[in-house]
């Protein structure tokens, strides 16, 4: 799958309270949560984000709580993928499980700024910065995780596992 969008770039250690503040966790629908996505560190994000846009960050994106509301809010805000130097581990699992694509690339983060237009090929991990005419490559997923992603996320993967168990 190919994605294309404008970059919204953030710093290191963007925590889940910044992605979706806990005061909104009485809701669990993505569309409702998206209205408050990033509001404590980037008020107005939801007004400027367009379908297909890309969130980019430095290290340890998504640190803090285990709330799946964080990737749900990002996905429902229309963001097509998140690119960072590294991700916090629970956020990483949650995003893969629900089907929000994440890419790790030091060089893409080092050579991209807010407002740049990127094209991402999820099959090959190629990240093309159209604004700066540069091409980068994301770190490939381990085989096990690639299988989980191609199965369509954890729920579909588990359905297949359980069907095989019964068979």
């Amino acid at each position: 799958m190919k994605l294309k969008g404008k970059v919204h770039k953030y710093g290191a250690n963007v925590d889940t309270d910044a992605i979706i503040p806990a005061r909104y966790l009485y809701m669990s629908e993505g569309a409702e949560l998206a209205q408050h996505c990033m509001e404590d560190i980037d008020d107005g994000f939801i007004k400027k984000v367009k379908p297909g846009d890309i969130i980019m960050a430095e290290t340890n994106f998504g640190c803090g709580s285990s709330r799946e509301h964080a990737p749900l809010a990002i996905e429902a805000a229309g963001v097509s993928c998140v690119i960072a130097r590294s991700f916090a581990r629970i956020f990483f699992r949650n995003a893969i499980n629900i089907g929000l694509p994440l890419l790790e690339s030091e060089e893409a983060v080092a050579n991209t700024e807010t407002g740049d237009i990127l094209e991402v090929d999820l099959a090959t991990g190629e990240i093309r910065n159209n604004t700066r005419k540069k091409v980068f490559h994301a770190k490939p997923y381990p085989d096990f995780m690639a299988g989980l992603i191609s199965a369509g996320g954890l729920i579909e993967y588990t359905k297949t596992r359980m069907a095989n168990r019964r068979a």
């Binding site: 503040p21 009485y26 709580s65 799946e68 590294s86 381990p142």
Partner: protein
Amino acid sequence: MTLAEKILAAHAGKDKVSAGEFINARVDIILANDITAPIAIKEFRKLGVSKVFDPKKIVMVPDHFAPNKDIASAEQVKLMHDFCEEQGIPYFEIGQMGIEHVLLPEKGLVLPGDVVIGADSHTCTYGAVGAFATGMGSTDIAAAMATGDIWMKVPPTIKFVYHGALRKWVSGKDLILYTIGNIGVDGALYAAMEFTGEAIESLCMDSRFTMANMAIEAGAKAGIFRVDNKTQLYTKSRAKRPYLVYESDNGGSYANVIEYDVAKIEPQVALPSSPANARPVSEVANKNIRIDQVIIGSCTNGRLDDLKIAAAMLKGHKVHSGTRCIILPGSQQVYLDALLGGLIEIFIRAGAAVSTPTCGPCLGGHMGVLAADEVCISTTNRNFVGRMGSPKSQLYLASPATAAASAVMGRIASPDEIAAEGGVCR
């Protein structure tokens, strides 16, 4: 193998596992709360199975917004309650409940050698009893509720060795804040932190829970302690099922070993807005930082020994007139023990408010949310922007001793500034 690897190998049905390996691990306990359970239940329904794999191995605790703060949170708790009734899952509500990570060890539901997964990042708390416990999201919990197992990447283990004797008023909270300050909020990313050394052996169980609890604040997958006599004493009377005790092999396969001399560590305060902004209390107390609020409680510091330390500081003193001090016992049992031990009377006479157990203010939910420009010192685990309310509020993290001393002074203060008897449990 390290302690963490031994537990994971046993739960994956393997003789040996090593860091980086993908395994399927059998789980002993699965946990969810009022924020994460609603999504987990919704995802579970998509799996097309009618029953969870074993209701006795699942625990649900509404604690974040409970007692329900509004209609929307009441609906979430009701959904959770209905699911537990339908499936026969143990469910702990107001009156029976506690903050999940205080309640589960206290009830003997998590034991040494267990693999525990919880839809709450502070699930790592149970490493204090020698379990491999880690936080995950709702969809992971949904899948595990159906299958009884979970995929995991075996984490590398970083060994932390704490040498020497602890200074007065230095508790597990100070050691873990110091450690996170030293290695950073991603200093143990994806790793298991194993806490060892004679200073760790001297810590009481409640201080060990505090340290394991905050392993996630360094990005860790788990924080874990060796089972010793203190652990055995704690778990033996509580356990209702047999358990196995695992030990790291001599030499272990550690990714790194980090050593500290605790004689050099004084009580710590983490400045806004990162747990890694830890500074010695003497440095922070000199800055005359006026505070509007003090919170003593949470899954980090809401246990009996935490309240005993707070009471030692507050006894015979008054909370400063410009400061509100809210104390939240972590469970009904902690509340009762604090009541019988005379602690609640000390708190109320000092002018503190005492709340029913809840996570409440820690995540800016209720029972002590901050206004813009308000300043709070809290025994909780995160001081991110907006964590306790307004994104313009300021949040400092510290131990119960430092928080209670600050409540008396109305500014961030060192425990040494208060005439107090007693000390930190050892």
